[in-house]
């Protein structure tokens, strides 16, 4: 991908949290870029730093961006003054959250909340904002928008609320939509509808989507490229086809292996042994080595770089190091 053609470009992002136990690194050098109109999925377990990465794009985190840059349309969001950042938040970058139940303010009607965004970013008059709100509600698939507009969030179901959140996020036609686990709190049939809605909105507005999820099924159906995060680092990235068909990193392989196959029901679901290392006690080398079935000498001591597997497909694993001359014993 040519430099400069990207919509969002994150370089060497480090995010730390100050806690009583000291400085905790949540994100340790993430590189990520999204082209206009592209859908990129960021997957990983809870605590892998995927949400922190997404939130730090909008500087919505308590933690500190200690290094790196986040360029959006050529401007570094990590250093932008607050008033200019506010123009981008909700204007050019929209965001939807995991919990539609709590993401709407309970004391205002749905309409008031959408209209607030419209009047703020587009300086619309009250009647124009109202008309556009109805249009937006209609567009995100809410039946009888006139009635829904004057209802309070508690009167809506979870799926409806997520649709309202989407309406708010796309109200100003953003270039980038950050979707932080948009379907995790919804049941499966609603999940499919919401993802379908996002797909059609993306096509209609030509916006790029950064999808944060731990649902590999959603990734396979929705994204074009996927980045796998583990303990604050990208361990594998590539097109969805490459990563899913030819997973190169043992962690990705284990993740895919943990998916239950409906055609081959197993007595026990396979899981990855061990647990994610605590961010305060990360090993010097590869963070996955303690759980890795393929670990060999260099793993615990030196962090692996992202090695090219094929064009656009890279994995942070010494097994993919082109200098590797022997095949270590695989178990």
């Amino acid at each position: 991908m040519a430099e400069g053609s990207e919509l969002l470009s994150i370089r060497n992002l480090h995010v730390d949290f100050e806690t009583d136990a000291g400085l905790v690194p949540a994100v340790r050098g993430v590189d990520l870029s999204i082209a206009p109109g592209e859908t990129v999925a960021l997957v990983g377990e809870s605590g892998s730093g995927k949400s922190v990465t997404a939130m730090s794009v909008m500087r919505l985190i308590e933690g500190r961006i200690s290094a790196g840059s986040i360029h959006f349309q050529g401007r570094d969001l990590s250093r932008l003054p607050e008033p200019e950042l506010r123009q981008i938040r909700g204007g050019q970058v929209g965001m939807i959250f995991q919990e539609p139940m709590t993401s709407l303010n309970p004391v205002f009607t749905v309409g008031q909340q959408i209209e607030e965004v419209l009047t703020l970013h587009q300086q619309l008059s009250a009647s124009a904002a109202r008309a556009q709100t109805l249009e937006l509600l209609e567009r995100v698939g809410i039946p009888s928008p006139e009635r829904r507009r004057v209802q309070y969030p508690h009167e809506l179901s979870g799926g409806m609320k997520q649709r309202v959140m989407i309406a708010m996020a796309i109200a100003c036609r953003p270039r980038l939509l950050i979707a932080d686990e948009p379907t995790t709190a919804l049941d499966v049939t609603i999940q499919a509808q919401i993802m379908e809605l996002l797909r059609s909105l993306k096509r209609e507005f030509g916006m790029a989507v950064l999808l944060i999820t731990h649902d590999l099924g959603v990734v396979a159906h929705f994204a074009e490229r996927v980045l796998v995060m583990y303990a604050g680092k990208i361990v594998e990235q590539g097109s969805v086809r490459d990563v899913f068909k030819r997973a190169a990193h043992p962690y990705t392989q284990a993740l895919l292996g943990a998916l239950p196959d409906p055609l081959k029901p197993a007595l026990r679901l396979s899981a990855i042994p061990g647990r994610v290392p605590s961010p305060t006690m990360l090993p010097a080398g590869c963070a996955f080595c303690a759980r890795c079935a393929h670990a060999f000498e260099p793993c615990p001591t030196a962090p692996p770089a992202l090695f090219e597997v094929s064009a656009g497909h890279r994995a942070a694993c010494f097994l993919r190091d082109p200098r590797l001359t022997f095949v270590p014993t695989l178990r």
């Binding site: 919505l60 938040r89 204007g91 959250f97 993401s103 303010n105 309970p106 004391v107 607030e116 009167e155």
Partner: protein, 333 residues
Amino acid sequence: MSIPVDPVPAIEALAPRAEAEALGIAETPAQQLWRTFRKDRLAMVGLYVLLGLVIVALLGNLLTGWWVVFDPTTVRLPDKLMPPLSVPSAALASELRPPFGSYPFGTDELGRNVFARMLQGSFVSLSVGVVAVGISLSIGVTIGGLAGFYGQRKLGPVSIDTLLMRFTDVALCFPTFFLILTVVALLPPSIYNIMIVIGITSWMSIARFVRAEFLALREQDFVTAAKALGLPEWRIIFRHMIPNAMAPVLVSSTINVAHAILTESALSFLGFGVRPPYATWGNILADGRSYIFDAPWLFLIPGGAILVVVLAFNLVGEGLRDALNPKLRKRAR
């Protein structure tokens, strides 16, 4: 043979009323609050008493100010210490005769109409209560809100939260009543000084409530969502957080009004309150103290009024607390 088909699809047959019911009728939070509140009989009694008091106080202020015979300072020495509902004596000059040809609450040791004095006093009590709580609310919400929202920021070696909340703790440590007594004794006696002094000594509980609410609200998704939508910070605080933090503050304020009224009465009773020719419930009570056996109505009437009003405020406060508690709230059916 054909199967009879209902020409109206089932969904349309339900509309629109049944559908509205099935979906829950649009109801503002205020309507919901009122519906729950209304079920609390005692709180409703308290509310009616308070509404009555507001009318009496406003009306009383008009009457005592503009109508000479209602003047609470008119001295009618021939008619001193008359019991309630007694008729003025014939010796009284015709322009001094009380309205309605009787003294509904009797007269005091100077022959002043206790009814007129109570009317004037009700306005004092109510305005002191409301204004003092207004002052304490603005201080409490500001300090609590700042501590809750910006608390994590450091100001030198200490955080803003520590600074503000320890200041609140210090303010809580003062023996409030004696502080008020001292301040009022030093300042010229005026109703405004009393309002201000009561206001700036009663904001601590409100500050604590608001801080606690803000700490919880800060972490709420809708506050993050509001930030993600690019809303400015002041708008998030005033439009999104304060309305959500008002429930415990409202309850506490209602009870604080009762407290302020009691404090004002006590100050007036001790002679540190409003200057004597101006009647307040506290100084009517103080005057009546000397005639406790000869003219018991002189302390029973203002004392009873204070009791009823304070009780009414507390009942309304309790009712609000219950109505605002989501666990006790029932869904519309």
